[in-house]
Amino acid sequence: MASVIFRELEGRQGYWGTLALIGVFLALGALAFFTMEHAGHWITGMDNQTVWGVPHVFAVFLIVAASGALNVASTASVFGKKIYKPLAPLSALLALALLAGGLAVLVLDLGRPDRLIVAATTYNFKSIFALNIILYSGFFAIVGAYLWFMLERRMQPFSHTAGVAAFIWRLTLTTGTGSIFGFLVAREAYDTALLAPMFIVFSFAYGTALYLVVLIAACTADGRPLGARVLDRLTHLLGVFVAGSFYFTVVFHLTNLYITRTHGIERFVLLDGGIHTALFWLGQVGIGYVLPLILIFSPGSMSRGRVLTACTMIVLGGLAQMYVTIIGAQAYPLDIFPGYEVKSSFFDGEVHGYVPSAWELMLGVGGIAVAAALVVVALRVLRLLPERLDDASVSAWEAH
């Protein structure tokens, strides 16, 4: 590690331009929040049938990706892969930034965001949501300490222990996130413990994809060399995670197809659910799994463009997955009276249409802007990224 030189990004024009652009999205997010808070949620696409909308798609995606962004650091500290050690600080920073962005969206979409202090002080410990609040806070504390130990030379002996603690904590955190849905017995699309491990594998893919995007963007913006060795290794790791996500998705749906009472929801998602069916096959499976796998495992070296394309597809596929998981499950009507056709003034028995409003999209993108702003500023003021990531430097520190 001694041979690796870490350096801040240089503050050229591109830095301020990037910050200004992020600032625009932050402002739009803030505008959406204040408008929704002032008028009430009726101005959004959400209603009493679809109670969680696009803000939750962005929020849960970012929170899941946050845990996965820690992959690179975990691989270095827990599994002792030297090649990833100099890449670990950026991994921890990205994890913190993504979690902050996701939580910002989740909190600002609450009916009473002003009561955040209530959520932080009054707990119902049977609620998986309440446990998640503790898991999120713990994640900030543990990963924050881990990042500090990596950056502060005197504390480096403790960084391995902190890395192991962060690894265990992040697995618990994503188990908690998956269980938010898995523990809902009322909804046929959920009600399975499979959601917890499935979310963990999703997090590996989404987090690593975003890590690669940030790494390539930072190196390109600052003119730092980024060799094929790092890119190849990370991209192949990403490929394995995408294949794992695909596998879990297949098992999840095969299980549901085997259980007669879930045939209805499966038919809805896989065959005749309109936007949800399209997002599942084209978005989650096509753009999220199949195309990236072809891109990643085709012969030839990984160019930055090829990696970026694959990562962007994985992120878009991930957002499609969250849309189907969160909104698709609510669109499908609850079976309150099995064996009966039902209708009511409260839209019983109907597939619930949902059209996201601009406010919700602005709030969701605002969450991404929060994460981006934190990353850009931190990279500018902290020594988080190695000066050189070319193949020769990588080989040198790997042999060290």
Binding site: A39, N48, R115, S127, F129, R187, I336, Y340, S344, S345
Partner: protein, 241 residues
Amino acid sequence: MNSRRTFLAASAGAIAGVALAPGVRLIELASGRSPEAAASAKNRWGMLVDTTRCMDGCTACVSACATENHLISHGRPRTDAQWIRKVELRDKRSGHAFAAPVMCQHCAEPPCVDVCPTGASFKRADGVVLVDRHICIGCRYCMMACPYKARSFVHEETHDQNPDVPRGKGTVESCTFCVHRIDRGGVPACVEACAKDGGGALVFGDLNDPASEIAKRVAVEPTSAIRADLKLGTAVRYRGI
């Protein structure tokens, strides 16, 4: 001798009576309930919905609920609150059609209470499931968890509230069994309206009191819970489903 013995026995009886009577009276008082007293687990408020008496086209219960709880429509049915709704059912095989009002089922094991992060969703000792509007943060997790779609989120400002039924934008709410009425010895507004203007399909009372009409009827009539497979121990029973 005999008269003296009788006199002593009578006196002892009288003294015992004087000494014990206030205690007996106190026990009697303790088992009753003043408006200030906390809800008691001795009661289990419940409702029987007799679908065979629920009249076609009648929405007396729905209107009464809206009036009682000041659930004012904004002309936006997808976001307007509905604490009780009339569901029209048709058996897919036989074609038999009927209707049933559906509201919060006041489960003994309420999923909404389990998932609520702050404990705003809670169950009273007498089984009534409520939302504490002071600590509800509006996360809507309870709405995701409720198998009966019984809850509504307040999507916009509320005006002209009933002082007994505080509501607030950004929080979740549902049928309270008109808890302000039952605490004063009354019955929910929907039950009263159904008896007056409807078919008398709704019976409300204490399931724990063997002398109550509801306890007597559920003991002899075939009734069932909706989504009984979830084993939530609902306080609302349906006849004719």
